[in-house]
Symmetry: C2
Subunit: 171 residues, 2 copies
Amino acid sequence: MESSATLPLSQLPFVYPATPRSNKAYPFWPCKRRSSQPTRLHCNKMYVPGFGEASPEAKAAKNLHNFFTYVAVKIVAAQLESYNPEAYEELIEFLGRHSLNDGDKFCAAMFRESSRHKNLALRIMEVRSAYCKNDFEWDNLKRLALKMVTESNTRLMTEYVLETSHVESEK
Amino acid sequence: MESSATLPLSQLPFVYPATPRSNKAYPFWPCKRRSSQPTRLHCNKMYVPGFGEASPEAKAAKNLHNFFTYVAVKIVAAQLESYNPEAYEELIEFLGRHSLNDGDKFCAAMFRESSRHKNLALRIMEVRSAYCKNDFEWDNLKRLALKMVTESNTRLMTEYVLETSHVESEK
């Protein structure tokens, strides 16, 4: 399902009666404001509201940041389990008491728990930095996400068509 | 805080006594198994457990996929608000009754609500595809995430040091 971000609305399959408030043939889509280009109001990008001063990319980066902390905890736990069971137990015990939803809050709390936990937190921070810089496959992430949206859209439409034809054939 | 993913554990600041279960100087870190390279067990990447058949990249792509649906709903709502208030109201009303946590479930439910909602779902699916292919700034996402991990690590350590020196100076 290929589509262009600048496709005029009139070309989209849509049954709602268009009731434009002006005589313009196409609605006005301001681009996302960039701090580096504050005066460039017209571009080919769709307007994304609701992110305030941030951007969708910043929001996604924040989520990835928390995800990298989660991955780092998994990596460190796997390392400790095999060569330092005592430290592993302490990490698991701490995980039971603290949420990993906010990675930075988790590390800050671990820093202040004890001197042993502080060093554990330092290792987790070091691993998340190394992981996102060296190990995480950014190109693969993009490839998988693009594949996912195409396949999901096709699947959703196919399922609906099959469901509807099934109902039709039963009539 | 630069670090290498292959940094030997002995170089990390860590107070736990190392009690390796074998005589190997470094723990064995199997690489993530790739379907294309199933027999290559040794690589420079850290072992990430707990993702089963999937990979951290696939997990992150799934999260981004749901995020793109959320962004597409925001984009479509902003478009409708200005030129079709009736459709906008229907979208907002549907949003009040259905969670956007799972983007595909949301679209599937919208598909089956009514013929008008079906066309709304088609537009959301078309917009999320166009958004992730054309508008989303993948390079910016990577840049922001790398910046975030470095800055967060520095900030967490600075805050801890300041806090500790404050306590020390009060003694």
